[in-house]
């Protein structure tokens, strides 16, 4: 609509305001009339404008007069105003759909895409004039949303220094790494078409180190990745920074969980990912090096080291490298990334906070129900046998099991429903010794499995994720328990490549 303009009310230390600013920059870059009002002092506002590379006019709000007149409760709040400065639309917080609708109102293309690493929405902070006044000076803002980071420093090794020993000594990883020489890192940066080395792709929890393309490349070189792997590493870093995955918790927990990467789509053959026999093992450079690159990024940029912030009591061998590709060729159903809304021809990476694989052998069952029944008994042990709350599981079906199941006409949803309806813990297990999961039994759902009263192990069929992987010889599948799951823990995230 002609004559409309956008006014944003911002604070310099509000994370949501920092999150929304690059999108406002995009709108302003499209010549849309965008202005903002900062509720903060001139010096911090000037610093905010510099840090965030703000490309629209920012005014101040002395005495919060404008904020009070508009009735601002939350920052950011976006106001769409007409030519008489009447409010046409008012939107508090950050919401990608809202941003795109406003872009449309201003006659522009959408500015927010689903897979740019930012959450779909995020609530804001309370407006400054409504804050409880305290004696504290406002804390310096963490620079969490700048899009351009610092160039990595370099070190020139003395002639007699063995680069491998230098890497052991300084980067402190227990395994040898490929020394990240300037030449190797630049070779990978040249493969990162459309990206600048200093572009910040994500901030890696829990210490929120900047994953610039250059830092990602340095770690990927160390892990042994080929330069072309950078096109997988960039969406992978975005997925790690996705608040739904909650790497902050996954990386600091005392639990067993480690981020498992699942690769889907044409990139599997393009970069030689392996999805068949030994899929969880050291079978292919692509799987091993991508999994290891993720671990090095988490350690070196995220800062959760296994002798420090990563508090896992027993750890997980997956923390060396944990990356599989789905065997889509042996999968009669839709592969994982298609379930998550992507096209089959689109490549994708998925992250799941997983325990180590628990093998299920079933060589004698001849029916879908028989095979799946065996898997329910492994599913029943996820987390702790009597606990029926707050976790998920990934079932990796081997091709031989898949053939038996599909031959009986089961769809993927049938498989999920069967596992959901047939996995339970008998009520008799809750008599006797108290223990984990017993006190919560009032919240469990009682069902009957084979005539025996049980508590249903999972909360919903969707708590059971299914992929097909592994070799065609051997009637095996695997169950991988999750970390604390759902919006209060870690959610599986899928990013297109």
């Amino acid at each position: 609509m002609p004559g409309l303009r956008l006014l944003a009310i911002l604070q310099t230390d509000c994370p949501t305001c920092r999150l929304i600013t690059p999108y406002l920059n995009k709108l302003a870059g499209n010549a849309a009339p965008v202005t903002a009002i900062s509720q903060d002092a001139e010096d911090v506002t000037r610093e905010f404008v510099r840090q965030m590379d703000v490309r629209f006019p920012v005014e101040r709000d002395p005495g919060f007069e404008t904020s009070k007149r508009l009735g601002v409760v939350t920052v950011p709040t976006l106001y769409v105003l007409d030519e008489h400065d009447r409010v046409v639309r008012q939107e508090p917080g950050f919401d990608k759909n809202v941003l795109n609708e406003i872009a449309g109102l201003l006659g522009h293309e959408p500015v927010a895409t689903p897979y740019d690493g930012a959450p779909a929405s995020k609530p804001g902070c309370i407006s400054r004039h409504l804050e409880v006044q305290t004696d504290d000076a406002s804390a310096a803002a963490l620079d969490l949303h700048a899009t351009r980071g610092a160039a990595a420093s370099t070190v020139e090794l003395a002639g007699e220094e063995d680069p491998y020993e230098y890497c052991f000594r300084v980067f402190k990883d227990g395994l040898p790494v490929v020394p990240p020489t300037r030449e190797r890192v630049e070779r990978m940066l040249r493969a990162a078409t459309g990206h600048d080395g200093r572009e910040v792709i994500a901030r890696i929890p829990p210490c929120y180190g900047e994953a610039t393309v250059e830092k990602i490349a340095a770690n990927a070189v160390m892990a042994g990745c080929v330069p072309e792997m950078v096109r997988v590493l960039i969406p992978l870093a975005r997925a790690v920074g996705d608040e739904r995955f909650n790497a902050h918790g996954v990386q600091a927990t005392t639990h067993f969980a480690a981020p498992l990467i699942i690769v889907n789509g044409p990139v599997r053959s393009e970069l030689n990912f392996h999805s068949r026999q030994n899929v969880f093992s050291n079978v292919a450079r692509a799987n091993s090096s991508l999994g290891r690159a993720l671990q090095l990024i988490l350690l070196n940029l995220g800062g959760a080291r296994p002798d420090g912030i990563d508090m896992s009591a027993l750890g997980n061998p997956g923390k060396f490298s944990y990356c599989i590709a789905e065997n889509e060729e042996e999968n009669p159903w839709e592969p994982l990334h298609v379930e998550h809304g992507l096209q089959r021809g689109q490549s994708a990476v998925t992250l799941f906070a997983a325990e180590a694989p628990h093998g299920v052998s079933e060589h004698n069952a001849r029916t879908a129900r028989g095979v799946l029944k065996a898997i329910t008994y492994a599913l029943a042990t996820v987390w702790s046998y009597r606990n029926c709350l707050g976790f998920e599981a990934l079932v990796v079906l081997g091709p031989e099991h898949v053939h038996t199941i599909a031959r009986d006409g089961f769809t993927k949803q049938n498989v999920r429903d069967f596992l959901f309806e047939n996995t339970g813990i008998p009520l008799r297990c809750y008599e006797g010794e108290p223990g984990e999961g017993v006190a919560q039994r009032g919240m469990y759902k009682e069902i009957t499995i084979d005539g025996e009263p049980c508590y249903q192990k999972f909360r919903a069929p969707e708590s059971i994720k299914i992929v097909v992987a592994g070799g065609t010889a051997g009637k095996f599948s695997a169950v991988l328990g999750s970390w604390s799951a759902g919006p209060r823990g870690s959610q599986m995230v899928t990013y297109p490549i």
């Binding site: 610092a150 420093s153 070190v155 090794l157 002639g159 220094e161 250059e214 830092k215 918790g249 940029l301």
Partner: protein
């Protein structure tokens, strides 16, 4: 030929925050008890609240709870305990 390596580590300087000054006495103070919502946390904090009031004469106790132990405390929770003289956080399990 000299070898030049690109630093793969996080280079953003972090500052160690000094620990808050210890309270000389608890008498008359406001103490916040933060439950991170792990099982058993409330048992520990209920007992702490009683002890603080009965034995140490604290003026008031603020009880707050994180919605989940798996994520950092949201700003709203921190705002509610900001005025306290000291905070006791219960990790529990």
């Amino acid at each position: 030929m000299p070898v030049t390596l690109v630093n793969p580590m996080n280079e953003i300087a972090t500052q160690a925050a000094p620990a808050a000054p210890r309270l000389a006495k608890l008498q008359g103070k406001t103490i916040a008890l933060l439950d991170i919502s792990k099982p058993g946390g409330s048992v520990f904090l209920d007992r702490m609240e009683r002890l603080l009031k009965e034995r140490f004469g604290v003026a008031s106790v603020i009880r707050e709870m994180k919605p989940t132990f798996a994520k950092p405390a949201p700003a709203g929770v921190l705002e509610k305990i900001r005025g306290a003289d000291a905070v006791i956080e219960a990790l529990a399990d």
